[in-house]
């Protein structure tokens, strides 16, 4: 046996509620050599996580490995007993989950959890394990490597926790580490630190890795080879450079194309001059008890002013916790602002939504990030879309039904979908329904709160294209909130950068290359590029990083 991992003709079946068997992995084969990092990429539902988990001989509840061989370090994981597999997990193979926050036990210290693997397998005495853990913390460039182990999971940041999860995986000296989208939930500025740490540790130890992701740019930085999956089958395999420069399979090309944002054409109808649709002056919103001066104790949004012009789009960008979602909620009146004025279409708006008139509510719609929770799971699509029609426009049954068809056409969904429930749609379809509901109201302004963040690259770029098209047809304005610069760049006329509740800079997309504010510089330079040498070549001003990066 030459390779560390040899998967041959792997088949995995899942059972549906009705007892029907569905084959979700259809004969996947792949090899991983010693010390090689292989990325599994594909859209959600392509089976990438299922394949990665099967390397540990694990199939999620309801799934079963039905055929094929999974040889890891000379042992067939599919044929071993559960006890036999347990012996290998943590020592031969380790796993780093997507959400480290959910993977750590909140009621015990980090050190206890990191060295737990050595205790279970009896690898080394606890003192030695602690020393080894501290070495790993240092190697992963965690701050205060000697003291961080004594803390509890809630006392460290998300990026640190993700690196601690890697330390937990590495302490048993595994030959293979499986990373399951470990940076997807992180901000771009944090993602860089985590990627760098992962890369250096893996290289230093000569450890082989499987990196599951849907982000081609991230994968380009860390992987030696890329395996593209779709529908439970391998579409294409190749070296990272090979895939990026000369992709063969149409799906891979689609992935690459989605990554290159199409530049936004300047609109022609600028004859009438810009008319402000929404003007916000010195808006402050926050949480906690209100102080004597009328300001909340914790200010999430601090004296932000902005203007959205008719038919144009404003992008709001910033890391998580910078107050961009609170800003959206304050504008929509869901979380009433403490102070500040909101002028919409020439008229001053009340701060709280329930004091606004029905027409004011109708003209400003908000679309949320998670279509899963934004659509009532108990109602068919038809009811969801037709409610604003009945509520705002008082349409009768027949007129509503006709309009629902039109709206479904507008968002490019088949009309037959109207009888389905949200759980029977894919993520991208749900987001379109979510958007169709906002359109049903007949708004002038739509606030989009991270609407593409939960979607795959290909699906997200299709949704963005749709938004642009609808804007051309209906003359809408968008406030587009996102942490993803490429998305904002693709659709917005103006970009506002927020940091720590304040507006730090407002620029146009063509000037993104040369921001003036230091935080914008850091943020924009942290967005991964498809170039595999980008991460290694990246030089960041250490002063900026210490000032604005949350490490």
């Amino acid at each position: 046996m030459t390779n560390l991992v040899e998967v041959r003709n792997l088949r995995i079946e899942a059972k549906t509620d009705a007892g029907r068997l569905v084959e979700i992995i259809k004969g996947v084969s792949l090899d991983i050599a010693d010390g090689e990092i292989v990325a599994l990429i594909g859209e959600s539902g392509s089976g990438k996580t299922t394949v990665a988990l099967s390397l540990m001989g694990y199939a999620r509840p309801g799934c079963r490995i039905t055929g094929g061989e999974i040889n890891v370090n000379g042992k067939n994981m599919a044929a071993l007993t559960e006890r036999g597999r347990a012996r290998l997990r943590g020592t031969d193979i380790a796993y780093v989950p997507q959400s480290a926050a959910a993977a750590f036990n909140p009621s015990s210290t980090i050190m206890e959890q990191v060295i737990e693997v050595t205790r279970i397998h009896g690898l080394m005495p606890p003192e030695q394990a602690r020393k080894r853990a501290v070495e790993l913390f240092r190697a992963l460039s965690l701050p205060d490597p000697d003291g961080i182990g004594a803390r509890y999971p809630h006392q460290v940041s998300g990026g640190q926790l993700q690196r601690l999860a890697a330390a937990m995986a590495l302490i048993g000296d595994p030959k293979l580490v499986i990373f399951d989208e470990p940076t997807t939930a992180l901000d771009v500025t944090t993602q860089i630190d985590v990627l760098k740490a992962f890369k250096s540790v893996m290289k230093a130890g000569g450890i082989a890795g499987v990196y599951v992701s849907h982000d081609l740019a991230v994968v380009a930085q860390i992987a030696d080879r890329i395996v593209v999956l779709k529908g439970g089958e391998v579409q294409e395999t190749g070296t990272t450079a090979g895939i990026l420069s000369a992709a063969q399979h149409p799906y891979t090309r689609e992935l690459l194309a989605a990554f290159e944002p199409k530049s936004r054409q300047i609109r022609a109808d600028e004859d009438s001059g810009p008319k402000p649709l929404l003007r916000i002056d010195n808006l402050t919103a926050g949480y906690g008890p209100v102080k004597r001066d009328g300001q909340p104790v914790i200010r999430a949004v601090d004296s932000v002013s902005l203007i959205v012009e008719k038919g144009r789009n404003l992008g709001v960008i910033g890391e998580s916790g910078c107050g961009k979602s609170t800003l959206a909620r304050a504008i929509a009146g869901i979380h009433p602002a403490a102070t500040g004025d909101i002028v919409f279409d020439g008229k001053a708006l009340e701060r709280a939504a329930r004091k606004r008139t029905r027409d004011q509510l109708r003209e400003m719609q908000i679309v949320f990030q998670y279509a899963d929770t934004a659509l009532n799971p108990a109602k068919p699509i038809e009811d969801i879309i037709s409610r604003p029609l009945a509520f705002y426009h008082g349409l009768d049954r027949q007129a509503r039904s006709k309009r629902v068809d039109e709206l479904l056409d507008m968002v490019r969904l088949p009309r037959s979908l109207r009888y389905r429930h949200p759980s029977e749609l894919s993520g991208g379809q749900k987001q379109r329904v979510n958007f169709a509901r906002a359109l049903a109201a007949g708004p002038k302004l739509i606030i989009c709160d991270e609407i593409t963040s939960a979607l795959d690259t290909v699906v997200a770029s299709a949704v963005i294209e749709l938004l642009k098209e609808l804007q051309r047809e209906l003359g809408l304005s968008y406030i587009f909130i996102s942490h993803d610069l490429s998305v904002v760049e693709a659709i917005c006329d103006e970009i506002m950068v927020m940091y720590n509740g304040e507006r730090v800079e407002q620029i146009t997309p063509d000037k993104v290359k040369s921001p003036t504010h230091p935080y914008s510089k850091l943020l924009f330079s942290s967005v991964p590029k498809l170039d595999p040498t980008w991460l290694d070549g990246l030089v960041r001003d250490p002063e900026l990083v210490t000032q604005y990066g949350h490490r």
Binding site: T16, D17, A18, G19, R20, A332, G333, I334, A353, R354, R356, R358, L361, I366, F368, Y370, T373, A374, L375, N376, P377, A378, K379, R387, P388, F391, Y392, S423, E424, R437, A441
Partner: protein
């Protein structure tokens, strides 16, 4: 436990899968419901008539379930008892669950002072032992069917309220509720159209469970002599009347006990084995 065992014997019908235990349980419940509705037409003797020379008579032809402590026909009394037990309990549980669930959802949606005051008040109600509360009310205003129904309902409102509120609070944090709120929807629309459809299944399960509690509490009150007054009798009262027959192994005391057990156990089993909707994208 039952679910795990039943999983192997699931069949499907009308897009739902069900199992044998659930079917048998619902048949028992259906049978008792039919008896409750048609009791006056099927009883062989009026419930007050003394038809046997002996008391605690054995099962025999003509008196299929023997006679009670006064020599009255036990079959007639059990059949009519079903009417009171099922009827009173159903009325009480309907009132309790309806008011509890509506209040719970309103409290969850409204929040603030309304929620706090209502919750504390109902918590206080909850702290009164149910039998004691029943005793006091019946002692104060006397025993009649409306009083019994209302008392039982009031006792079980706090529980239904807590349950519904806990479920509704979870739903209330979902974005689709926020969307409906910024649309300008009223509270009635929010609770009826957005929240209720999402909690209806657990609420129905709770309804069944509470029905069982009420049957048992009603039987308990009747056993203490505070329920229905003679010659009317629900199953609990029948057990009490005939408790003297226990040394003789008289069917008069065993049969109403079995009736209570069969109804409550069936409802419980049905709740554990409700038909499940099959969610299958392509099938």
């Amino acid at each position: 436990m039952t679910v795990a065992r039943a999983a192997s014997s699931r069949r499907s019908f009308l897009g739902h899968s069900y199992n044998l235990v659930g079917v048998v349980a619902s048949l028992v419940i259906l049978a008792w419901t039919l008896v409750a509705i048609f009791a006056p037409y099927i009883i062989p003797h009026p419930i007050g008539d003394i038809v046997d020379d002996d008391y605690f008579g054995p099962m025999r032809q003509g008196l299929w379930l023997g006679s009670d402590y006064l020599g009255r026909d036990m079959l007639s009394r059990v059949l009519m008892g079903a009417r009171y037990t099922v009827g009173i309990s159903l009325a009480a549980v309907s009132i309790a669950c309806f008011s509890g669930v509506v209040l719970g959802m309103i409290a969850a949606v409204t929040g603030g002072w309304f929620d706090t005051c209502l919750s504390r008040f109902l918590d206080a109600m909850n702290s009164i032992p149910s039998k004691l509360f029943g005793l006091v009310v019946v002692a104060a205003v006397g025993s009649s069917i409306p009083v019994l129904i209302l008392t039982l309902a009031v006792i079980y409102i706090p529980g239904a309220y807590r349950f519904a509120r806990a479920l509704a609070v979870n739903i209330n944090t979902m974005d689709f509720i926020t969307v409906a709120r910024v649309r300008g929807e009223s509270t009635i629309y929010l609770i009826g159209s957005e929240i209720l459809p999402n909690i209806i299944r657990p609420v129905l399960a709770d309804f069944g469970l509470r029905f069982v509690f009420i049957v048992l509490l009603l039987s308990g009150l009747s056993f203490l002599g505070l329920g229905l007054q003679p010659p009317l009798a629900d199953w609990g009262a029948l057990v009490r009347e005939n408790i003297g027959g226990l040394p003789f192994a008289a069917p008069a005391v065993i049969v109403p006990s079995l009736a209570i057990a069969s109804l409550t156990i069936s409802v419980n089993l049905l709740i554990d084995n409700l038909p499940q909707k099959i969610r299958d994208r392509d099938a």
